[in-house]
Subunit: 345 residues, 2 copies
């Protein structure tokens, strides 16, 4: 677990996309964020107070979230300098870049000298087990997708929030670096050695006896020719009771693969249900999540209604319309999940 | 590529299974083996001449194949001593153990001093690409299975041998450590980072223009809850024209998973064909390979006939009956594969 609360790093960002991990943390774990760290020239804000590292420590911050995203996932010279300054002020540092914090000698030595930790969330945990497929207690929901980057993390977090709002225990289980920084724990499933994909998912979502839900962040797509193996291992290891299908309707081809069209929603859902039955014979679909941000409001509503009719499932855009109707369906299908008497962890 | 010819190591083995990798190399690449290395107490032989390291070098051997298999995949003290002796005599050393040769200081330093190489075939190659699914020329056949360890490597090698015997170019493409030591190259697909499974298979079997076949060693099973992700990534990356389904009929449950039954052959084959169509829309099945070693001859023949009738495909035990009828079907389906004018590499 990464110690909270956090100071989230924006550096000298001019483009909101370049700090999408910091934004995700500030959006989904605002209660854990004491402030943001902006450098001269920064044109982005998360609406948090701009603090120095010393001020952040005074307000109780434990960890700097170095939530940058750049091509290649590298640590820039500026990031190294700022990570060192944060460590010297008394903060742990967490990042999800390909280039590891611990592989930078200056960062590593400063952390050692200060008795602090660096968290490279792209590292899989050691000693992951091999999957078994043995049935385990607990309710689990997995988001699956027609493609990569169609809103699986966002949908999962929205489901967690809505379930908790209704007094039902629910915990987001992160499988990607942004999700892990939001949740404070998780498994970067795309970085696990191939033999351990399903085992990693089993490890992430162990037996649960409190009537609550593990809401598991899906990855990739069974229909993506690069990543389907990851998606299938995650599907088997998750042993899901329920699936939510995520889709971006304005996408013209599979991500990074011009000319390869997206699967039909019904075909995609049925393939996921069929594969999931290997470890979860009674799995059901409970909803469809569409990212309609590129559509007009009326067109988005019409598309949701049409999708709903075609698949017989509640269909919604989590950002524009919330996920209430998907949660309604989930609770109809699993009335025992109401039994938890208190919300949150 | 691991330099050949080889000296194959048997050590002081008393159990043939403990040297199954050396046996595989001697069985399938006998023309590359100048001798075997037996230590006092050894009760196993591969029928090769027993040579010292110096004698092997005199006969032209280039590499010692340290083809042991033990629980945990560790390097024993004896193996370390023998690897060092082989290096000092002038041989490279290759092994497929989990414990790496290069991580042993004595072996590493001896190799450096002698200017020789150690080959840890469980290491994936660096800089593997992400898969693309873009169609590529060439004929590819993949063996798939109902379970792990049902004869996919053996069947693949038998198909390569039979195709070459008929004057058709064919190359076994190894995906596991024993296969890699037999082939002298390959990718240990189970050791690749999850995001790169399909890309590794694409890298292993690039575009081919000579009318010949890549015969790809399958791994795991779409129906194994631990390894299906590996199997699916390999299936997508292989982009196979043809599948051969492998099965062990006397197995009562999935490997290491008591209580979990094997899939029905027809269901398993159809699931593999459906998944393969994502990157190879015209894929066909050309045969079924059964390991009938635990059945009487008559029962084995009867089972093959029954399977043949049920699936409409040639069915054979490669060891007891050869793979001629599967190759007949393959060449009926792909008459252009006859066009190669010479056999072998």
């Amino acid at each position: 677990m990464i110690p909270s609360p956090y100071l989230v790093y924006l550096g000298a960002a001019r483009d909101p996309l370049s700090v999408k991990t910091s934004r995700g943390v500030a959006e989904w774990r605002r209660e854990l964020c004491v402030g943001e760290r902006r450098l001269p020239g920064c044109e982005v804000t998360l609406g948090l107070e701009n603090l120095t590292y010393e001020e952040a420590v005074m307000r109780g911050a434990k960890t700097l979230i170095l939530g940058e995203a750049n091509a290649g996932g590298i640590l820039t010279q500026t990031s190294v300098r700022e990570a060192v300054a944060a460590l010297e002020a008394g903060l742990h540092v967490a990042a999800g870049l390909h280039e590891r914090l611990r592989d930078n000698p200056l960062i590593r030595e400063t952390a050692q000298r200060m008795g602090l930790s660096v968290f490279d969330v792209r590292d899989p945990p050691p000693n992951l087990p091999i999957g078994t497929g043995v049935p385990r207690p607990g309710h689990r929901l997995l988001t699956v997708g027609t493609d990569c980057s169609v809103g699986k993390m966002y949908t999962s977090l929205a489901l967690e929030r809505e379930l908790r709002r209704r007094g039902i225990r629910a915990d987001f289980r992160a499988t990607g670096q942004t999700g892990i920084l939001i949740a404070g724990s998780g498994v970067p499933i795309d970085a696990v050695v191939a033999d351990f994909i399903a085992g990693a998912a089993e490890w992430l979502t162990p037996a649960r006896h409190d009537g609550g839900w593990d809401i598991i962040e899906g990855q990739g797509s069974l229909f993506h020719p690069a990543y389907a193996g990851v998606s299938l291992g995650l599907l088997h290891g998750s042993q899901p009771d329920a699936l939510v299908l995520c889709h971006e309707p304005s996408r013209t081809h599979m991500r990074n693969l011009p000319g390869r069209s997206l699967p039909d929603l019904k075909e995609c859902l049925e393939a996921n249900l069929a594969a999931a039955r290997l470890t979860s014979p009674n799995v059901v679909a409970v909803g469809v999540s569409l990212n309609t941000s590129r559509l007009e409001r009326q067109a988005a509503l019409r598309l949701c209604r049409e999708t709903e009719d075609a698949l017989g499932l509640p269909c919604t855009d989590p950002v524009a319309m919330g996920v209430g109707r998907i949660v309604d369906r989930l609770l109809e299908c699993f009335p025992d999940s109401r039994s938890a008497s208190s919300a949150g962890r």
